[in-house]
Amino acid sequence: MPRNRSVFLKRGVVAAVAVAMAGLAAGAAVAADPVRVGALYPLSGQVAKSGEDTLNGIRLAIDIVNNTHAGLKMPFAAGAGLPALGGAKIELIAADHQGSPEIGAAEAERLIVQRKVAALIGAFHSSVAATSSQVAERMGVPYISGESEATTLTERGYRWFFRTTPSSRTQARDFFTFLRDINKSQNAGVQTIAVVHENTLWGQEFAKSVEGYFKDFSEFKPAIVVGYQQGTSDVTSEVQKLIAAKPDAVFHASYDAEAILFARTYKQFNFSPKGVLAIGAAFGSNAFRDALGGDANYFFVREHWSRDLAGRNPLIGQVGQMYRERYGKDMDGTPARAFTAMMVLADAINRAGSTDPEKIRAALAATRIAPSDMIMPWEGIQFDPTGQNTLTRGIFVQTLDGAPKMTWPADQAAIKLVWPRPAWR
């Protein structure tokens, strides 16, 4: 899309000039009132760790906006604060929703009414995003989500809800695109597909989306769909069903715990399809690699982000490095997406030039961000009328020699993918 590219470039130049001028002005300007942004995340209980990691992505984005970062070629890095608001800083107000839709809605209301936030960002769990964005919709406050994936969230006709991450339906489509591509390019020979999914919202939505795509990708046939109870003590019957169905490829929607359990059970029963492809990070997580050692190799994960992309976009390496230095662990797809959503929100507030919710909403709706200005491997950020970003792209990462490696799309690959997966040793 060369035309868009040039528009982006022009905007980039304009933005850079604006940033530079604001930087000059900032020295003289009186410190403006901070802009408050409310963040809704699970900060206690079982998923506290993921919630904290995600929130750290947002904290890093705010740090880049609020402070001067010489050498980082990114919007807002050069100056301090939001230039169009007289160098106003962003103040983050985090709230814990514990994964409860009820608490999420209540906290959204508290942040809007009692803490006077200009916008909300959240919420990790799609169920919480559903109820908390309902509050924002009613009160007329912009809400942006960088990582809540349930497809239905942008199908409700909301005015105030924006989402930068691809929905789970879009992600399911990437699985088929991937297989069609490697069937052509390297004779992968995939015809039958099994789906294994956990039975909460996330897994069920993924399975349903996959089912829907067999029409569009008619060269593939469903072999079997195996749903399982999250928190199960063993998966023998599930794996025996898979063995009986003999699929060429398995699509997996599992959280960390069952990912380990499934991989171990696959090995025990020597179940070795041509490839196992997972949505979500579980099959490539640190816990997974630690628990399985060499057996963690060859699993594919449909990812949003990879450090291997640093070669193509230096921002990815720099921001990943900053995240590691500040929070002591490697950035992964979820904090990277939350980071991006926060940068989009900051950009919109800045273009709105005020904290007036209607103006911020209009600015969000008019968002145009170029690939070179962000850390995601997307074609940009641009919202359709439902508030969904339409320029996302998926990547596939394969664990090889104990480390996740970017393997698809081929033009961005760090290493050639291994297909079919070798037999268990």
Partner: protein, 358 residues
């Protein structure tokens, strides 16, 4: 302490009036603070649920850790009626009481033949089965859950969007009605039979009453109250999913609040909710940012402390304080009152026999 409901004296009538006035005026004092308003509403909601649990668990002595089931069924009934048949929410409220009551009676048929822990496990198993079925059942929205359509706010639609104060008053009205009804129930013949069942089921059978029938009645009332609370929750959140209305944690919390307040007393569940809801809410706001579960650490510790030191719950603590105060203020009167209050606690100790193998 549940043995004999004390005759309401003038002083407790005054106390009740003051309490009622305070409850009515609370939203005015809270003002524009949704967090505090929601907490007050939650206290009332959990108090109602605790009262409902108490009918079966306290009055009749049948400990259930599956009462979240009736809460969830109430919530689902009203949402499904509104979504599929466009039924008025107030009719939904009636249905949301009847459906859980009916289910409770059905559950009671196999479960009431069981004693002690066999009954406890049975209630758990039934609730967990329904939870698991709802997570995969498409027609009820499976794990995705169901959103109630947003309607113009007002009492007719049972939805209030800008200002949530009406929810508070509806919950308060629910609590007053439920508590009043239970106050009457406890003094009715039914109440006496239920307490007799709790103390000695075989003796009740010997007198010609059917414990099974009376327990079913208690179960139905209990289920209906939980169902009404579930309807309120659905109208308040405008969303139901299996985890947030049928999850095991709800069953446990309900029983916990009632037991920690004081089993079998009318004030117990209210007191339990009034102490424990703010405790967990403030712990969440202030401690949970660390992701270290400090709130639950404190919570678990407190539960143990109360179980050890006041097995009759916060009500026991309260009565103890009252006795001490009376003793301090008037010597003679105090000595009259003290045994009255202490008797049941002592009786429990006397009954202590680690193996009630009856």
């Amino acid at each position: 302490m549940a043995a004999m409901p004390a005759r309401p004296s003038v002083s407790s009538a005054v106390a009740l009036l003051v309490l009622a006035a305070a409850a009515l005026a609370l939203p005015l004092a809270i003002g524009e603070r949704p967090f505090e308003l929601r907490m007050a509403t939650l206290i009332l909601l959990f108090a109602v649920m605790g009262q409902g649990w108490n009918v079966l668990g306290g009055f009749a002595g049948q400990v259930s850790i599956g009462h979240g089931l009736y809460f969830g069924l109430g919530a689902y009934t009203t949402v499904l009626l509104a979504l599929r048949l466009d039924v008025d929410p107030w009719l939904g409220l009636v249905a949301g009481a009847l459906v859980p009551a009916l289910c409770a009676v059905l559950v009671g048929i196999p479960c009431f033949r069981l004693r002690g822990h066999y009954f406890v496990i049975a209630t758990l198993v039934v609730a967990e089965s329904v939870f698991q079925i709802f997570t995969v059942w498409e027609w009820v929205g499976s794990a995705v859950g169901l959103e109630l359509p947003v309607k113009p706010e007002g009492l007719a639609n049972f939805q209030f969007h800008r200002d949530k104060t009406p929810y508070y008053y509806i919950a308060l009205a629910m609590l007053v009605v439920v508590t009043g009804a239970l106050w009457w129930l406890r003094r009715s013949p039914l109440g006496f039979v239920l307490r007799a069942i709790r103390d000695d089921e075989d003796a009740v059978r010997g007198l010609g009453f059917s414990p099974q029938a009376y327990k079913s009645i208690a179960m139905a009332i209990s289920g209906a109250i939980l169902g009404v609370a579930g309807v309120f929750h659905a109208q308040y959140v405008l969303f139901v999913d299996p985890f947030s209305v049928l999850g095991l944690h709800i069953s446990v919390l309900v029983a916990l609040f009632a037991i920690m307040g004081g089993v079998g007393t009318l004030a117990g569940p209210i007191l339990g909710a009034a102490v424990l809801v703010p405790l967990s809410e403030y712990a969440r706001i202030h401690f949970s940012g660390s992701g270290r579960n400090v709130d639950l650490l404190i919570y678990g510790f407190l539960i143990m402390v109360i179980a050890v030191y006041r097995p009759d719950g916060l009500m026991g603590l309260w009565q103890r304080a009252r006795v001490a105060a009376i003793r301090l203020t008037s010597g003679r009167k105090g000595s009259d009152h003290a045994p009255d209050v202490h008797l049941p606690a002592r009786r429990r100790v006397a009954r202590h026999d680690p193996r009630p193998s009856a």
